[in-house]
Symmetry: C2
Subunit: 154 residues, 2 copies
DNA sequence: GACAATTATATTGCACACAATTTAATTGCG
DNA sequence: CGCAATTAAATTGTGTGCAATATAATTGTC
């Protein structure tokens, strides 16, 4: 029944787009992995370092808000970064519920090495122009906002 | 040094795009989860079922090629689908290295339920027009191809 | 036709990701 | 003030992902 299949096609677009996003995320990871191996980081660890390089000394919650991750993911990840001597974790004096995460000298120093290794290789691997990347990124952020608000209303 | 920062901006686009993809994938997952819970599936399990609903009886390798997943991921996933009585796994008679994965009656029957529950909700949650979704999906697939070929040459 | 190389799964180990629960600290309300 | 409600991390359990390795079957080659 081709008529029914045709009527379903637009409905299936959401599925196809999600798979495109999901599989592109994996493809990105495959490009990042050999680069990040040279820094001794995984991709989520690299994201945390990017956040801290931008603004040092944040609570676990603040890191989580920026990366859309919760303490169940961040706590063990931060412990690994701590045992790699890249960050230190200290209870806040003002609010002892909070754990403040700060860069060590070594963690701050990794920034320059990361800057030379990662962004140029990633940009090249996308095979896209700056204009294309900008447009795609903007569309994805808008999509993410829609999805997050839809999920929030549940 | 604003000059240096400005020079870095285009380089950082790759990073920003990757994070947009990565965080959009998570956002999609948050939308899918309550829907797929009603089917008793995770998102990767749903992907496998979509593949099998499209073409029944595929080897693990063939499923992996369609979804960009390897046996390390698929073997335990398929075992879970098997213990949920949605698929059956049988060694191929012609080539005993291969395991053929086929739908059970129950697995085939789940298709209709999935069709009514998932695609309409996903399409609505994206908040995008069909034209926007089509364009975005096409751009992502092109990006994925670039990334995969870059990773392959690595 | 034996045997090395290749191929298809399976297994192991590590690192996310998130739901659900727990613990401890802080806030808010009467 | 005192206690309930809230909040921040940590913990537990399940399910991916993937690298590396293991195992078994098939293919290619001499």
């Amino acid at each position: 029944m081709p008529k029914k299949a045709a009527a379903d096609a637009p409905l299936l677009l959401g599925n196809q787009l999600c798979f495109a996003v999901y599989s592109t995320a994996h493809a990105f990871n495959r490009v990042y992995k050999p680069l990040l191996d040279r820094l001794g980081l995984t991709y989520p660890q690299y994201l945390v370092m990017l956040v801290l390089w931008e603004r040092d000394s944040l609570s676990v919650k603040e890191i989580g808000e920026r990366l859309f991750l919760d303490s169940g993911t961040l706590t063990p990840l931060l412990k690994r970064l701590e045992s790699a001597h890249l960050v230190k974790r200290t209870r806040s004096a003002e609010d002892e519920r909070q754990v403040l995460v700060g860069l060590t000298t070594q963690g701050a120093g990794l920034r320059e090495k990361a800057r030379t290794i990662v962004p140029p290789a990633i940009l090249a691997a996308t095979g896209c122009s700056v204009a294309e990347l900008t447009a795609l990124q903007k569309n994805l952020v808008a999509l993410r906002e829609s999805l997050n608000s839809a999920a929030g209303e549940g």
